[in-house]
Symmetry: C3
Subunit: 100 residues, 3 copies
Amino acid sequence: MEPHARKLLTIVTEAALEGKILRDLEQLGTRGHTITDARGKGRRGVRDAGWEASANIRVEVVCDAGTAQAVSAYLREHYYRDYAMTVWVIDVEVLRPEKF
Amino acid sequence: MEPHARKLLTIVTEAALEGKILRDLEQLGTRGHTITDARGKGRRGVRDAGWEASANIRVEVVCDAGTAQAVSAYLREHYYRDYAMTVWVIDVEVLRPEKF
Amino acid sequence: MEPHARKLLTIVTEAALEGKILRDLEQLGTRGHTITDARGKGRRGVRDAGWEASANIRVEVVCDAGTAQAVSAYLREHYYRDYAMTVWVIDVEVLRPEKF
């Protein structure tokens, strides 16, 4: 079985946005996601996972290039101005392309 | 010291498989792994880390290309049909190639 | 908005080093980081996140290639001999290059 090229999109943002982001992802056509709790520091200062109010989440989505681009554009348009959010995209290989 | 090319293999699967997967990895020749607890949604529905029974784990292994291929093939053959499992492979650079 | 190439540097190391590593990163010019708690096994044996003393952390930093190289070199020089530490670097794309 040959590996197939896909994109891994990682979103690091405020934990309070989790439900909203997951609904966005579903509407934008992604097929699955992985969430891990995180803490961090960015342009909006130190965020400590021990404080629920300022906890961060790290959402990973494997998808095709077009979906990665659409999700990136959507997030930029709807969240970048008002929320702490960092997004990066990586080339990955997967064995079951029909899954993503 | 020059960077060396290796593969980062990420496995997202059911937390109950942790011990089994780690034994597989060791037998397949990997030298180390990193595990983070996760929750997510895939083809088998929403998994919430708050519910131990359906918690997910995210296992990362840095290894050479041959090992990444062998591990991918093994996981596909032994787990894909019966368990929720997503695997992706990324090109990475490391400074200490002898470690992986 | 065009995507821009950056590096994603991931450091997996002993949780006790968190404060020290974050100060290092700041002094080396990084603009932000994401931390997740982890457990794992490497050359120094099994580390279980349930045991605070041996917990691991996974620190991610998105930065330019020069900073990634400087951080890698610094970590190698200051920590590799005495601590459990694994570092890898991945090519990523970001939409807001001024942020990293």
